[in-house]
Symmetry: C2
Subunit: 342 residues, 2 copies
Amino acid sequence: MFVDLSNREKTILRCIVEDYIRTANPVGSRYISQKGDINLSPATIRNVMSDLEELNFLTHNHTSGGRVPTDKGYRYFVNELMDDDLLIPSEKEILQSQLDDADLANDEVFKEVSKILGRLSKEISIVSQPYLSQGIFEKLELVNLSSSKLLVVVSIQSGLVRTLLFDVESELNRSKLDRVTGILNQRLGGLSLTEIRRSFHERIGDLQHDSKEIVKMFIDSIDKIFQDEKEGMTLYIGGTTEILSQPEFDDTSSYRNIIELTGEKGIVVHVMNKLPAGESGISVSIGSENNDEKLLDYSIVSTSYTIGDVKGKIALIGPKRMNYSKMISMLNFTSRIITEKL
Amino acid sequence: MFVDLSNREKTILRCIVEDYIRTANPVGSRYISQKGDINLSPATIRNVMSDLEELNFLTHNHTSGGRVPTDKGYRYFVNELMDDDLLIPSEKEILQSQLDDADLANDEVFKEVSKILGRLSKEISIVSQPYLSQGIFEKLELVNLSSSKLLVVVSIQSGLVRTLLFDVESELNRSKLDRVTGILNQRLGGLSLTEIRRSFHERIGDLQHDSKEIVKMFIDSIDKIFQDEKEGMTLYIGGTTEILSQPEFDDTSSYRNIIELTGEKGIVVHVMNKLPAGESGISVSIGSENNDEKLLDYSIVSTSYTIGDVKGKIALIGPKRMNYSKMISMLNFTSRIITEKL
DNA sequence: TTTAGCACTCTTTAAGTTTAATTGCTAAAA
DNA sequence: TTTTAGCAATTAAACTTAAAGAGTGCTAAA
């Protein structure tokens, strides 16, 4: 995938990326030479840097400024050079204990996790609810709330539930409700929502005329679940305060981007939906790899968590100059905890 | 409440507040004199300004800067001087049509309204869900979802619903569920949740031992509703992008405050809970009147909306230099639409 | 192959200067 | 008595200039 770099080139590239991640200042040859890791004069290092720039791993803004990694440089660093610099134990403990403390009641888990991740990572953290559309249908229940309101309760195997409120013309007969839900549960239980949506015509197209209204509500409910995930997915966003402490947001214009990002959920939903979904494991997307003008200066690290039969996503978004290995460890760790707890 | 001001003083104060709201620049005597509204020389106006400053309606940062209203100045303006400068028709139309277009399905209404208000007001907009705790209890329904999960559905008179998921040790007998919910609904229907919470001991303390578990879940559900409203109320916040276009947020430090505000919902929940609740009508709180360090430079305009038996709040938060009359009209208008629609 | 030396570039910072806005005061005018 | 013109004083903001500092690229020597 990449041109082979000599060991010296690798060492120097790594050194530059790490320093830049740490300090946010362009890195000069003199500084690297003095740091001690490498026993070469600034002049030699300059030659290597020049080569690396030729190969498009580095760039610099003006003659008298140090070098800065390009997207390609970051990518090489992430793929080939990065330490598996797991969280230092103290951070791990903090994360663990905060996640333990969080009273993990339904739904609020995700809100809480996004807050904690934001606080610890100092990046924007995004946690999605689980994608019910992947779930296995367990049971439908219909509840008459009043003469004109009916509550549709769809539950899936892992115990997660989605409720939807419908207006109906007149209160529906209890025994009829029971009969129809019985049939639906019997015929469709155990199938995935996706499968149900695809094939409901064949499977329940035969139901008598007087069940139509109920069946339609069921189908509408499932459609709503899918539509929400596509457009209006509930996302929990944390770290919006914390990320402002990073040096890239010292000037007025750059913070607008990131605030816009968190303000307009549309963008974020789009981003989340583009992330590799099913796979377990971590995905890293750097700058231009995001294929989005607004995200040119940012990187996204993401993974998924699993609750029974469904998955959800967790992501961190921040300046490309982020501590990739730490963020990756943090996500892995968090994902594991959610998966185990629920 | 205030010292009497002469007509001349009133006119000039009003002129200054309006100009400052419009331009965000301190207002000088020369500028006012030239504007034409007042036929006096700058020197005379300076004398009046000096008096107004003496009375603490105005202040100025340095000798060579124009005057700026104090909190007291804004307050006098809002109470005594302000035009009922209703929304200009075009804005009214935009607001109306956007609120009409918004597909007003449950819950999402509030999210949508907060977005629209944010966009039009260019201030931070906050919309709370209705405070169910004020509602009249209509009906309890219990739904077995699996052997270990039970869904509690509490509905109130206006048709609003709150669902909560409970873990139970073993599936509860359907006929028993029906019996107990029957009793609860019969005895408690028509009472407010607050009343139920206050007096449930007298009213349902006698229920047999084997109903205890169910009764407890009901009580827990109501407690949860109250607790959420006190601490974790769901609020929809809009305008976070839009408010950044205002001149006060040109410099780096001031925007942090406002972002912090929207980032940490705790603060906002607190603010919302302090707002006058029941009353209809508009409340305005200016700078130091907020009794909150973080809100010293901001004003809050708020009102409530009504859905059947419950109320919710809408607020706009922005720099003290906000267009009060317009914001007030906007809130009134929005509140009326929500109240009528739902 | 590596390094020392040096001119050159460009940013950042500091200091100084000018400009423009506004006030407060005094004395004259209405 | 009220209003106004005139003017010195004050100060922020904008602009200018100068100096300092960091880093590169190139050349020639080690």
